[in-house]
């Protein structure tokens, strides 16, 4: 008896009980759909984060004070053991690490910005002019923080678009004086609109020269130094050079951490990969439940068709023919459920971003392949027991069955 014949027999059996077959398939459909949908959401998050991180600028090295372990994790800089990164450190790097195009010192803090009677809390970033280049954030009108501003600790401020709109509305802000933590700052520029990046609204910040920022926060330490190399392949050598110089400057101790964009991407990918796997696993459980549903229905079906099994055996069906008939029935149920689940899952994954824009999805081929293979495997796994039960029927007992 060839495969096609057996398939036809199984298919007729399924068609003879459409409602039951449909409900049985529903379990698998929901399972496969859930796998695809949840994996797509996980993947979507990964793709989104990757895009955002690469959008920060290219070939970045981020140097932060304090030593953290290589695999991530954060150790807060503790007093006494850690030297601060200073503005002079950044100058030294810029001057002596020839592989770097930029080394931008950054201070970060919050303060209150006031203009006339309007005021709000805002994030203040102390920068040098190169910050525009390394972070791909450019000024729209007026000018950015200049080297002269930095050298002379000028009290000038560049406003993010959101801050500008809230304080000045449609008015021209350039040349106006604002109060930044009770110090008078002159507005010299307004940034180009950029939107949120990794959950941070980069339009809701103001930029000041790093030196005046340090004065504002009353510190000589830097939050971090962002360095950039012209080519990705220079990264490793640049790191070596940076270490070399900073260790010399920090009393021969490596009390800082250099993170590369690649390493950050890897960390993010690992986290989101685990997340995706967990989501997929949870969805897999529902697929498993669907499989149990198939086994249940197959057992009922075998019992109901005991007499048919007896007749077929009397007419010359071998055990393997009966086995094949019920196996194919189970696999067809799960396989058809799998295909339908894929269509619905992919459809939903493509529809979701249209309605919920904070939930990016990405349908990956491997999730489809995996869901389909898995649903087929579920059919085989949960079909074996009922099918072998059918095949082992004694023909005489089966024929007598009422």
């Amino acid at each position: 008896m060839n495969f096609l014949e057996t398939f036809q027999v199984s298919f007729e059996a399924i068609l003879s009980n459409k409602v039951r077959a449909g409900l049985t398939m529903l379990g698998v459909i929901i399972g496969v759909m859930a796998v695809i949908l949840l994996v797509s959401i996980g993947e979507g998050a990964r793709v989104y984060i990757t895009k955002e991180l690469t959008g920060l600028g290219t070939n970045l090295l981020i140097i932060t004070p304090g030593k953290t372990s290589a695999s991530g994790g954060f150790h807060p800089p503790s007093a006494g053991t850690v030297r601060k990164l200073t503005y002079d450190d950044s100058l030294a790097l810029k001057r002596r690490v020839w592989l770097l195009t930029d080394a931008v010192p950054i201070v970060l803090g919050t303060g209150r910005i006031k203009y006339t009677n309007l005021g709000r809390d805002v994030m203040i970033i102390g920068v040098t002019p190169e910050f525009q280049r390394v972070r791909n954030l450019f000024v729209d009108s007026g000018s950015y923080v200049t080297q002269g501003d930095v050298d002379s600790k000028f009290k000038v401020v560049v406003l993010g678009t959101k801050v500008k709109e809230e304080l000045f509305g449609d008015q021209n802000a350039l040349g106006k004086v604002v109060m930044l933590s009770d110090v008078r700052y002159r507005v010299v520029g307004v940034m180009r609109k950029k939107g949120t990046s990794l959950g941070m609204d980069v339009d809701d910040v103001v930029y000041v020269p790093v030196t005046s920022g340090q004065e504002l926060f009353d510190t000589d330490a830097l939050f971090e130094i962002i360095a950039s190399t012209p080519h990705a392949e220079d990264t490793d050598r640049a790191i070596a050079q940076i270490k070399d110089i900073l260790i010399k400057r920090h009393a021969h101790r490596e009390d800082f951490t250099i993170q590369t964009q690649g390493a950050m991407l890897d960390t993010m990918n690992t986290i989101l990969g685990v997340l995706t796997a967990v989501l997929g696993g949870i969805a897999g459980i529902s697929l498993l439940v669907g499989g149990i549903g198939i086994m249940n229905i197959m057992l009922v079906s075998v019992r109901e068709r005991t007499r048919e099994i007896g007749i077929r055996k009397a007419l010359g069906a071998r055990n393997s023919d009966i086995m094949a008939q019920f196996m194919i029935e189970a696999v067809t149920l799960s396989g058809a459920g799998g295909v339908l689940g894929i269509f619905i899952g992919v459809g939903l994954a493509l529809l979701i971003p249209l309605f919920i824009d904070v939930l990016p999805t990405s349908v990956s081929f491997w999730s489809i392949a995996m869901a389909f293979t898995f649903s087929g495997a579920v059919g085989i796994f949960f079909g074996v027991y009922p099918a072998s039960k059918a095949a082992q029927q004694d023909p005489i007992q089966a024929l007598r069955f009422e």
């Binding site: 007729e12 055996k313 007419l315 069906a317 055990n319």
Partner: protein, 225 residues
Amino acid sequence: MIDLSNITKTYHMGEVAITVLAGITLNIKQGELIAIMGPSGSGKSTLMHIVGCLDRPTSGVYRFENREISTLSDDELASVRNVKIGFVFQTFNLLPRLTALKNVEVPLIYSGVPARVRKERAMPMLERVGLAERMYHKPTELSGGQQQRVAIARALVNNPALLLADEPTGNLDSRSGEEILNILTGLNQQGVTIIIVTHDQNVAGRCKRKIHLKDGQILEDQVVT
């Protein structure tokens, strides 16, 4: 053609062993028309199952066309049933979802006959039992007599050496029963070996040889001349 020698069959129901056949020795030649008779519990159905290769004897030797049957595997028995033996049951035992034609084709499916040839072979069988007009009807759309005729066509489709009929008229009115008997005796005249298990004297009266069973033994083996 069929050689049964000292066949026994014992069932174990928990602790109790029930002997259904207690030493049956029987020889059946090609072309015979035999009635196996006896009260219920006499072992006639069990004997038919063993002769029909649906079951194996507990002891004894069963030779079918000079081939030892008792030692065959499940698959080999299935193949013997498929090619050599046709069954006609009291309850017809047609597959309810299939048309008459498809039902007749079933044994051919298991012999690996391709679909087109199956149809060519199944159609003449249905014509032979007078159902040319009813080929595409399902069993539920046929009368009892018609269903039994489909079952006979199905039993014959592989040109078996032996036709086994278990109370073939038991579920039929007398007129349909008579038709079925006519078909069976007609087939016997064309050379088909037929064994009919029955307790109907009228049916047995049409057979040339009557074997009476009682308590798992042959009480009487009578050839009508």
